[in-house]
C-alpha cells in the first residue's frame, strides 16, 4: 500500500516537472497559430480559438525565412562533416600513435575547450576583417574546422579499438590512410554521432560570429535572422512565434529521433572528462 502511494506520488511529481519542461514549447507552437489579436488579448486560452496559418505565410512573404533556414542547414552540415572527419583523424593519431610531443599537443587541444569565446572573438574578428573574409562563408567555416571537444571524444573512442585489429591490417599490407578510412573510421559510429549532433547544434545556435561576419542579409543564418526579424517587426508576436517555432522544432525532431545516442554521448563525455 505504502509502495503504491509512493509510486503514484513519484509519477505525479515527474509528470508535473515534465509539463513545466515542455509547456514553453507547447505554448510557442500553439500561439504560432493564433492571430496577433488573440495573442495580445486579456482573455487567454492555450488552444487557439481561431487557428490560422497566416503567421507562417506572412513570415515568408515579409521576410525570407526559408532562405535563412537553408543557409543554416548548409553551413551546419558542412561544418559538422568537416569536424567529424578532423576529430576522427586527429583522435586516431593521438589515440593510437606514440611519439614525442603528443602530450603537449593534446594538452593544447584541451586548452582550446577552456578558452572563453570572449577572448578569441576579438582577435579573430580583426584577423578575418584584415584577410578580407567578411561576408564570405569561409569565415563561418574556417574557425571551427577543428574541435577540441571532438578530438578529445574521438581520442577516447580510438583508444577503445584493439591494437591487434590495426596491427593485423598493417601485416596485410594496408597503409595508414587505408587503415583509417576503411577500418577505423567505420568503427567509431557512436563517437561520431555524438560529435555530429553537438556540432550541428552549436552551429545552429551560434549567433555572434555570423552576426559579425555576414553583411548581406540573404547570406545570414537562422539565429541572426531571428533577431533581424524581431528588430523589424517587434510587435508581430505571431510572426515571432512562427519564426522561433521554425528554428526550434527541427532540432527537437532530430533530438527525439536520436535521443538515445545524444544522451549516451553526454554521459560518456562527462564520465571520462
Amino acid at each position: 500500500m505504502k509502495q503504491k502511494v509512493l509510486k503514484t506520488t513519484l509519477f505525479i511529481v515527474l509528470c508535473l516537472a515534465g509539463v513545466v519542461t515542455v509547456l514553453p514549447f507547447v505554448w510557442m507552437v500553439l500561439s504560432s497559430f493564433k492571430t496577433n489579436g488573440e495573442i495580445e488579448s486579456l482573455e487567454q486560452s492555450l488552444i487557439p480559438l481561431a487557428p490560422t496559418l497566416d503567421n507562417y505565410l506572412n513570415l515568408q512573404s515579409n521576410f525570407d525565412f526559408l532562405r535563412y533556414f537553408a543557409n543554416s542547414i548548409l553551413i551546419a552540415v558542412l561544418v559538422t562533416v568537416i569536424v567529424v572527419y578532423t576529430s576522427c583523424i586527429c583522435g586516431y593519431v593521438l589515440g593510437k600513435y606514440q611519439f614525442k610531443g603528443k602530450n603537449l599537443i593534446f594538452g593544447i587541444v584541451m586548452m582550446t575547450m577552456m578558452v572563453p569565446w570572449s577572448v578569441t572573438i576579438i582577435p579573430r574578428y580583426t584577423m578575418f576583417v584584415k584577410a578580407g573574409l567578411l561576408d564570405s562563408y569561409l569565415s563561418l567555416i574556417l574557425p571551427v574546422m577543428f574541435s577540441g571537444f571532438g578530438i578529445f571524444m574521438m581520442k577516447q573512442n580510438m583508444e577503445g579499438i584493439p591494437d591487434e585489429l590495426i596491427e593485423a591490417a598493417r601485416l596485410d599490407g594496408a597503409n595508414e590512410f587505408q587503415i583509417f578510412h576503411q577500418l577505423v573510421f567505420p568503427l567509431c559510429k557512436n563517437g561520431i554521432s555524438a560529435i555530429a549532433i553537438f556540432q550541428f547544434l552549436w552551429v545552429w545556435e551560434d549567433y555572434l560570429w555570423p552576426y559579425l561576419m555576414m553583411d548581406s542579409e540573404n547570406k545570414q543564418l537562422l539565429a541572426v535572422g531571428l533577431t533581424l526579424f524581431n528588430g523589424r517587426y517587434s510587435t508581430d508576436y505571431g510572426g515571432l512565434f512562427a519564426a522561433t517555432a521554425i528554428s526550434i522544432l527541427p532540432v527537437i525532431i532530430v533530438y527525439v529521433i536520436f535521443q538515445k545516442r545524444f544522451i549516451a554521448g553526454v554521459a560518456a563525455g562527462a564520465v571520462k572528462g
Binding site: P24, Y97, I108, D163, F177, E205
Partner: protein, 292 residues
C-alpha cells in the same frame, strides 16, 4: 596502459606528420596567436573602426577595476552563478534520483523530455521566454496571476534570466547525475539496508558522498559556461534596466562590438579567462584526487 610502440612504417610517419602538422598550424593560427593578440591588445587603446592602436600601458586594467559597471557585472555574474548552479544541481539531482528509483515507470520518456530544453537553440528559446515574461499577455504572469513586469523591473530582471537558464539547463544535470547514480556500487546499498538505514539516511550518507565527483563536475562546468553567458542578456534585456542584468561576458560583447573599445574589452575578457582557468585547475585537482 598501452604498449609503447615506436612508429614503424613510413606511412605511419607520414600520417602523423600530416595530421599533427595541420593541427599544430591550425591551433597556432586560431588559438595561440589570438591569445597573444588579446594580451597585447589589452595594453593598447584599440579601435578597429578608426584603426587606432596606441600603447597605453595598464590603463585598460586601471579603468576596468575602477569602472562601476564592471563590478556590477561581476556581482551579477556571481549571483547568477550561485543561484543557477544551486537550483540546477538540486533539481537535477532530485529528478535524477526519482528517475533512478525502481518504482518509476516510463524512464526513457521522462529522460527525453527533461533533456529537451538543453538541445534547443538558445537564441530562439530566449525569444520565447521574452514573450512569456510579457506583463500583458505573458504565460508566467497569467498562470500565477501575477502582475510583474519581469524584464523591465530591476528587482526581477536578473531572476527572470536565472529562471530561464535553470529551466534550459537542469536536464543536463539530470543526465549526468543519472549516469553517476547508475555507476554506484550496489553492495553499499545492500549493507545500508541490512543496517536498517531509511531512505533519507541512505541518500544522505551513501548516495551523496559517492556522487561528489559528479556534483563537482556539474558545478565547475556550469560556472565555466555561465562565465561565458551573454545570449539571454542580449535577447531579453540588453543589460537593463540600468545595468542590473549585465553579465561579465555581455560586458565584453558590449564594449567590443557596440562601443568598439577592443583594448578595454580584451582586458575584461582576459579577466574572465583567468577566472575560467582557476576553475579548470580546481576541477582537475578534484578529478585528480578521485584517482588517488
Amino acid at each position: 596502459m598501452f604498449k609503447r610502440r615506436p612508429l614503424q612504417s613510413k606511412s605511419e610517419v607520414w600520417m602523423r606528420n600530416i595530421v599533427m602538422g595541420i593541427l599544430v598550424v591550425y591551433m597556432a593560427v586560431f588559438l595561440i596567436i589570438p591569445v597573444i593578440m588579446v594580451i597585447a591588445g589589452s595594453f593598447h587603446q584599440w579601435n578597429p573602426l578608426n584603426e587606432t592602436y596606441n600603447w597605453i600601458g595598464i590603463e585598460n586594467y586601471v579603468r576596468m577595476f575602477s569602472y562601476p559597471t564592471f563590478w556590477q557585472s561581476m556581482l551579477n555574474t556571481v549571483i547568477f552563478c550561485v543561484f543557477v548552479v544551486f537550483f540546477r544541481v538540486t533539481i537535477g539531482l532530485a529528478v535524477a534520483y526519482a528517475l533512478n528509483s525502481k518504482m518509476t515507470r516510463f524512464k526513457t520518456f521522462f529522460r527525453t523530455v527533461f533533456y529537451m530544453p538543453t538541445v534547443t537553440p538558445l537564441v530562439a528559446v530566449a525569444y520565447v521566454w521574452k514573450i512569456m515574461y510579457n506583463p500583458q499577455f505573458g504565460l508566467i504572469d497569467k498562470i500565477f496571476g501575477l502582475d510583474i513586469n519581469w524584464l523591465f523591473d530591476s528587482k526581477f530582471a536578473l531572476p527572470a534570466l536565472m529562471l530561464m537558464t535553470v529551466w534550459k539547463d537542469f536536464g543536463y544535470a539530470v543526465i549526468l547525475f543519472l549516469s553517476g547514480l547508475l555507476s554506484l556500487p550496489a553492495d553499499c546499498y545492500e549493507s545500508a539496508s541490512l543496517d536498517g538505514a531509511d531512505a533519507w539516511q541512505t541518500f544522505r550518507y551513501i548516495t551523496l558522498p559517492l556522487l561528489k565527483p559528479t556534483m563537482l563536475f556539474v558545478v565547475v562546468t556550469s560556472i565555466i559556461s555561465y562565465l561565458q553567458a551573454y545570449v539571454p542578456v542580449l535577447v531579453m534585456t540588453k543589460g537593463g534596466p540600468g545595468t542590473s542584468t549585465y553579465l561579465s561576458s555581455y560586458l565584453v560583447y558590449d564594449q567590443a562590438f557596440k562601443q568598439y573599445n577592443f583594448g578595454y574589452a580584451s582586458a575584461i575578457s582576459l579577466f574572465i579567462l583567468v577566472l575560467t582557468a582557476a576553475f579548470t585547475v580546481i576541477s582537475f585537482k578534484v578529478t585528480g584526487n578521485k584517482d588517488e
